[in-house]
Amino acid sequence: MRLKIPVLVLLVLLPVAISAQDDYSISMSISPDRIGLYDQATLIITVTGPQQNIPEPNLPNLSMFEVYSKGTSTNISFVNGKVTSSLKYQYLLQPKRKGSFVIKPVTLVVGRNRYSSDEVTLTVMDQGQATSPEAMNQSRTSSGSRREVFLTAEVDKKKVYVNQQVTLRVKFYHTVRLFSQPEYAAPQTTDFWTDMLEPQRTYYETVDGRQYKVIEINSALFPTRSGELTIGRAQVTVSVPAPRKRRNDPFSAFNNFFDRGVPETVRSNPITIEVLPLPSAGKPKGFSGTVGKFSLKSTHDKSTVEVNEAVTVTYKISGTGNIKMVAEPEIGELDDFRIYRASSSEKISKLGEIMGGTKIFEEVYIPRRSGQLTIPPVSLDFFNPKTKKYRTLKTKPIVLNVKQAEVDDDYGSAVRFGPASGRVIDPNARDIGYIKSTPGKLEKGKPLLLVTPLYLVMNGIPALLLIAVIIGSRYREKLASDIGYARSRAARKMARKRLAAARKLAGAGKADAFYAEIRQALFSYVADKLNISPHGLTGDKLIGIFEDAGAGDEDIENAREILRQADFAQYSSARLPQEKTSEVLIEAEKFLVKLESVKLG
């Protein structure tokens, strides 16, 4: 009976589940199905099912494309009380090569059921043969014949030398209100060194009799190798007004008010540039690849110096071209000078569409000897693409009058250095010392000894030892100077010795000597504790001392008994049995222990 309800529920739900599985469908489409090599197509996969959590479809092999997801959208509809979900996946496909590509069906697995779409074919042709996205953009216009937004890209030169500037001008045209800030994606510029030129410009331009607002973005591109290089597509995504079907709608004003726009993506055409290698004829030896038109100047901060006094020579390279790629002038080793790089800086200037600037190198020359010394000229080689010739610029040689240094010991070096006053280099120093050839003992975070427990132990143990020695010494001094204290401290030890001697005598059967030793042990102990002579002590005095010390009656009685037995044994000839001597010995030891707890005297 208990099983009936679940079985019933299962029986009710099973047909629903089966029917739900049957309601799935999957489709795939591509748009457009013919594109150019540098164009993109959108692959749309739509999955429809009876529930909201629709499983994810399995994509076919798309390795012949660069694939970018454009996102998903869900649509839920209620038809005759039946819920239907539709999930749309969009992918942007960018072909890697030309050809006709069959995209295999996309599949969906729900439970044990497998659904699949039809296959689609995408034809990729040479650029220009296909219908471009721009053409498609043209079709989506308010008038039906003109474009509302479009993007163009152009270059100032299609044939350049390696490292010669190409100016890429990307223009975004629009005639409609934009609902969002245009998102600009720069074109792919592999094999180019790129830099943005002046900030974007906005102006109006008339195209085919229609006035457009134009946003222009310019970049300077410097090809890094020769050959046919392609500048990819630039792209702008922006929200534009949604197309309206009814042009004469009296509520169009309200529609405009509520219109949030639809996203629109426009792309420019790719551009191919022929890049020529730099001519080998006339190429200077050690040419570093500088292209443009430059000037070279040198200045020095002083002409008369002392030996080891630094002279700063500033080399200034200015001109148009890729200034960032301009190499430092080569300065060889000089016998008369030590040379150090002081600083280098560059200032990029963008004069309209031409890139250029100034690069400054500061070198410090330190004369090694006195006399008239010459800093030789430095040279700069570059290729001028306008004249198509190499050119070598040279600075003028710098003649220095170097005097012998006067050593002034009144000043520390710290106050004399600095470019303002001229650097004075230590005459004994030729250069920084050379690097170490061995790393020494490389350690990982060795702690300071001061904060380790070892330091505490090392210093703590001797301190404790010293305290112990001082205490011991004082004890020893007291023993030596205070006889009463020394006797008192030794009383127990002496008594124990006597008892031990008594034990030996008992073993030897010498009863009288045994009891004499017992008696002596007790008397000596008390005499030592009280620092009195044991000779004047009698049994009665001893008992009196115990009583004065506050000993218990039982203890006093025990003492009397021991003394009595000792007297008896000492003064009678009767031989005591062995067990009796042991008993007396134990009693005497007990009594001594008791005496320790009694404060005598």
Binding site: A342, S413, S421, P439, P447, L448, T452, L466, I470
Partner: protein, 255 residues
């Protein structure tokens, strides 16, 4: 029995001292050597990168920091060169190469500090303390303390007396006091006092913690200072000429 006790003592001392019982890492050694070859070939940036990699893996040694300082100098990074020479000097104050290079590169400092007053006591203390690391001083003062205590114990226990014993006692006390003062001074100057170096080519020094305060002067790479306190992104620092000011943390490095 004796050997095992000795072994335990040795291990205990090594653990307590926090010593590194393992040798140098093979990779660190090979990286150090390859960096040296690059330096020789004037590939200073690449050599620097290798040396810094060793440092980033947690290792430190005076030669490593010294070589890093050299690379930075060759790369015209004066501030970092000074920083690493000072770090090297802290690990090995006896190395003349380090102090020589430090002095040499400081000659290229673009800014001069006027009015650097030399305190004779500090100069004297620095001169006697500089050849030692703090750990070495700590060991010396600890050993002297142990010797002094043992001497005292012997004198007290055996009741030694006489001019010789007293002379030894006085000498030990004086030496112990000197070493303790040196240790304390070294600890205070090297570890209690946080020092830094300007590493940026230019670093504005302000009257307060921020650029909205008055601009005092322009610090430059290689200047050394003590840090008094920090606030926000700024340190209140005292330069060697006792001039105070606030400097952006991004422009400096702690030694």
């Amino acid at each position: 029995m004796g050997k095992s006790v000795l072994f335990i003592i040795v291990v205990f001392i090594m653990i307590m001292a926090g010593g590194d019982v393992s040798g140098n890492d093979v990779n660190a050694d090979s990286l150090f050597n390859s960096a040296g070859v690059k330096y020789e070939n004037r590939q200073y940036a690449s050599a620097l990168s290798d040396y810094l990699k060793i440092g980033q893996s947690g290792y430190k040694s005076a030669p490593l920091y010294y070589n890093i300082g050299n690379c930075y100098f060759k790369e015209s990074e004066l501030g970092y060169a000074v920083l690493y020479y000072l770090r090297a000097q802290r690990l090995d104050p006896t190395d003349d190469d380090i102090s020589g290079n430090l002095e040499f590169v400081r000659q290229f400092m673009p800014v001069t500090l006027e009015g650097v007053k030399i305190n004779p006591f500090i100069t004297f203390m620095d001169s006697i303390v500089s050849p030692f690391t703090l750990n070495r001083l700590a060991w010396i003062s600890s050993i002297l303390f142990i010797l002094f205590v043992l001497f005292l114990c012997a004198v007290i226990y055996f009741q030694f007396d006489g001019i010789f014993v007293r002379s030894v006692g006085y000498i030990l006390v004086i030496v112990l006091l000197v070493s303790s003062v040196m240790t304390t001074y070294k600890y205070r100057t090297d570890y209690m006092t946080v020092r830094g170096v300007v590493v940026a080519a230019e670093a504005g020094v302000y009257s307060g913690p921020g650029e909205d305060h008055d601009f005092e002067f322009n610090g430059a790479a290689g200047l050394i200072f003590e840090i008094e306190r920090a606030e926000g992104g700024y340190y209140l620092v005292i330069f060697e000429n006792k001039r105070k000011g606030w400097i952006n943390k991004e422009n400096v490095e702690i030694i």
